[in-house]
């Protein structure tokens, strides 16, 4: 029974926060109250549950953030590699994040009911991260094992060879960039090829994607650009087929 009464009183006082006249007593709360732990209630403002803390503390944390950021940057500047790099990055990252959340976002002075409600749920992300790291590693492993040629889907060897002397650089680009660019190169090398069946050669059974259905392996040209424009585009940079305003 006592606890119910207590709760009721607390909540009534709490509601005063939104009432218009709650401001009056606020001005007297200008003095700060640093140094207390998880019990900010004692001595705090009436309406605002005010979070006023020593200016010095803010300036200190501010300076600390600058120093830690500098350290983070120096990790790159001095080119640390491998485990040293990752460890240093993570240490500085967590120190910075901790300082921001605890001091700037006042978590250090909130009651634990709020702290735990906010900070615990994101821990579920570590599980998510673990699962995706596992999957990422697996995908990488299967790619290493089964992708023997440079990605992505490239035209079969004989076609590539035909195109090589004429526009070797373009073919290289096309292979690196995207399947949609690979097609125009092919067209340029053999302009006489019937555009009605562009996927026949690519999806031939000899290729390493022979298992895939034809519609998947075919490098269908993008409908936006006309056949005349595309070969020209493939000669320069990978994004060269993009509209003019996007390129420059």
């Amino acid at each position: 029974m006592t606890s119910i009464t207590e709760g009721a009183i607390t909540d009534t006082a709490h509601d005063a926060h939104v009432s218009p006249d709650a401001h009056a007593s606020h001005a007297t709360q200008a003095d700060h109250h640093g140094g207390h732990g998880s019990a900010p209630a004692g001595g705090h403002g009436p309406d605002a549950h005010g979070q006023q803390h020593p200016l010095k503390l803010y300036l200190l944390v501010w300076a600390l953030l600058f120093v830690l950021s500098t350290f983070s940057y120096l990790v790159d500047y001095f080119n640390f590699q491998g485990y040293a790099r990752w460890t240093l990055i993570l240490i500085f990252m967590f120190l910075k994040a901790g300082a921001i959340v605890a001091i700037f976002m006042h978590m250090a002075w909130e009651r634990l009911a709020l702290v735990y409600a906010i900070l615990l749920p994101p821990l579920a992300l570590t599980v998510f991260m673990g699962m995706m790291a596992f999957e990422g590693g697996y995908t990488n492993g299967s790619r290493e094992a089964h992708f023997d040629a440079p990605l992505p889907i490239a035209a079969p060897e004989h076609e590539g060879a035909a195109a090589e002397p004429a526009q070797g650089a373009a073919v290289e680009h096309a292979r690196e960039a995207a399947p949609v660019v690979a097609k125009p190169v092919e067209l340029a090398a053999a302009p006489a090829a019937a555009p009605a069946e562009p996927s026949k050669a690519v999806g031939s059974t000899s290729g390493r994607h022979a298992w895939a259905p034809e519609w998947l392996t075919s490098a269908e040209p993008a409908p936006a650009a006309s056949a005349a424009e595309r070969p020209k585009a493939a000669e320069s940079s990978p994004g060269a087929w993009a509209p003019e305003w996007l390129r420059k």
Binding site: W62, S69, S72, L114, K248
Partner: protein, 237 residues
């Protein structure tokens, strides 16, 4: 807080016990946080999940690609006095955002001290640094787009670099931009003395307090917090 409430609140259990006690069915859970603050925190948790999805996707594609990942250190280098300084633009952006976080923290402090002019000026300073950040990001995007980086391809290595870059920094930049707008909006209220004259809010029609500045600060510090993670994982890793 009047003496009576203070007494009751301080009488409440501390430590682990306080969690169960505060979450009791007869209690209001967040005793020291206004509803605005609690709601902002809950929004920030949801935002944490969104940014985490981006960063975890980035981790997944970076781990699974067999093509070499581009070196951010070189890509984000700038030439200063004919010398290439690695990652310098990102370092400047980081310091800029930290500066804005500091001015924001001071603005919250000034608000609770009822120093409305100082508070408003600090909010403007925060908005200025935020806008500068967005400006530098626009510069960075322009530079990379000119160099041929696209969401689907780039000349430096793995194609996924572009999609991760535009998605993550774009979403963060959007947050900063919205924060700048919010800062300008609320700084106007602070400057006018709304939180002392009991003027009602334009959208809410409710009387506000300097609590609002702190809640705004939570959002702004969160944006800085996200940048800490982006800086570590995307630019430094």
């Amino acid at each position: 807080m009047d003496a009576k409430t203070a007494e009751i609140t301080t009488q409440r259990p501390e430590g682990l016990k306080s969690i169960f006690s505060d979450w009791g069915s007869d209690q209001r859970s967040f005793k020291t946080a206004s509803w605005a603050k609690a709601m902002m925190w809950i929004f920030l948790v949801s935002d944490t999940f969104i940014f985490s999805c981006f960063l975890i996707s980035y981790m997944t594609v970076r781990m699974s690609t067999t093509t070499e990942w581009p070196h951010p250190s070189e890509i984000f280098a700038l030439e200063i006095n004919g010398k290439k300084v690695p990652l310098i633009l990102i370092a400047i952006m980081t310091f800029d955002l930290i500066t804005s976080s500091g001015t924001m923290a001071l603005a919250v402090n000034a608000g609770y001290a009822k120093n409305r002019k100082l508070c408003a000026m600090l909010l403007w300073a925060t908005a200025f640094f935020g806008a500068a950040f967005v400006g530098m990001q626009a510069f960075e995007w322009t530079k990379l787009i000119h160099e041929g980086v696209r969401p689907w391809a780039n000349p430096f290595g793995a194609a996924q670099f572009g999609s991760c870059f535009f998605m993550i920094t774009g979403f963060h930049g959007f947050h900063v931009s919205m924060g700048v707008l919010a800062l300008l909006w609320f700084s106007k209220n602070v400057w006018r003395g709304d939180y002392e004259s009991d003027r009602r809010g334009y959208f809410t029609n409710r009387i506000g307090t300097y609590d609002i500045v702190e809640v705004l600060g939570l959002y702004w510090h969160f944006v800085d917090l996200v940048w800490v993670f982006i800086f570590a994982f995307f630019y430094l890793w």
